[in-house]
Amino acid sequence: MEFSQYVTARGPALERFAYVLTGDADLAQDLVQTALLKAYRRWRWVARVEHPDAYVRRIVTRSYLDWRRRRSSSEQPVDAVPERAGPDLADGVADRDQLHRALRTLTPRQRAVLVLRHYEGLDDAAIAGLLRCGEVSVRSHASRGAARLRASLDPTISPGGSR
């Protein structure tokens, strides 16, 4: 497959992935272009050796995490929060902006893990390989991210897990 054919076929999906990952239109486009340019420069190898989607997605994700690391060292992850029963948030969150705001409270790794798991459908092993960490770390980020989202979406739940 030629590079242009690949971009025509898969570009929109990559743009959506980058936007879901970053929540920022400019950054998403920049990351997609950066990743595709890297792929373009070694396209014969990428197309032959590796699935281009996996290659580009990995660069987008790592570039996003690097960018966030450079931009801010002020992440303040919460303590471990157990999953708990409560009202079904999917029924109660009518305002999509509320979800977007809640997503912005996540650390970059928490967001990356949740996006890769719930949007891209990757399993923990694949996410761990992509993020160069262990599966336990993936599950930890996912759990903490979900807890933080729950707390953000339902103000009656504290980040510590108590009402």
Partner: protein, 208 residues
């Protein structure tokens, strides 16, 4: 599956539908590659020239000239320079956007022929490492028959107000997504040229 899992599944899908779309993504990538190569070539040329100059200086054993005083950089006021507009885009410029008001500022050219949708707001000179000066150029519909110019002819002559600085920027083969970097902050007047179409537009570039 928890309620958060269900919420994220639907929420991410919805968010993805709002993603910006570059209709010429492959072209944007190639142009970006060419720009990077041009910058690299320029940097190499500077290094080579500097090296050659250094060798020549040693051979001549002439004392190094006193460094020239840095040329004063005039402060260019942005007051009076039109600000970007916000709100709904003109109907003819909404292709690729999910709604009439994507929340992206834009500027109209003097005669209304071009619209510059500024993704890289605020535009910055020099450009920032983490945000490019991305502008989507949209051509307004023209009454009557149109003759599209040959590729490679959409360009701008940019003049910095209050100075004699003028630079040419080849924007692309046609109005569309672009990166327009300019050398100094200030109020820039861009004379746009695309074949027989010409117009001008004011854009503010801020110092980082």
């Amino acid at each position: 599956m928890t309620d958060v899992d269900r919420l994220l599944g639907a929420g991410f899908e919805e968010l993805g539908r709002e993603a910006p779309h570059d209709a010429d993504l492959a072209g944007s990538v190639r142009r970006r590659g060419r720009r990077q190569l041009a910058v690299l070539a320029s940097a190499l040329a500077v290094v080579v020239l500097a090296g050659a100059a250094g060798v020549a200086a040693v051979r001549l054993r002439t004392p190094a000239p006193a460094p020239a005083a840095a040329a004063p950089v005039p402060t260019v006021a942005l007051a009076g320079c039109p600000a970007l507009a916000t709100g709904p885009l003109p109907e003819w410029a909404r292709t690729g956007f999910s709604g009439p008001d994507p929340g992206i500022p834009f500027a109209r050219s003097r005669d209304g022929r071009f619209l510059a949708i500024v993704f890289g707001n605020p535009l910055s000179a020099p450009s920032l490492p983490d945000r490019s000066n991305k502008i989507l150029w949209v051509l307004a519909p023209v009454a009557g028959p149109t003759v599209e110019p040959a590729p490679g002819q959409f360009w701008a002559q940019a003049r910095l107000e209050g100075t004699g600085l003028s630079v040419r920027r080849d924007i692309g083969s046609a109005p569309g997504p672009s990166i327009v970097d300019l050398p100094r902050a200030g109020c820039w007047q861009l004379e746009l040229h695309w074949g027989s179409y010409t117009d001008s537009i004011s854009l503010r570039y801020r110092a980082p």
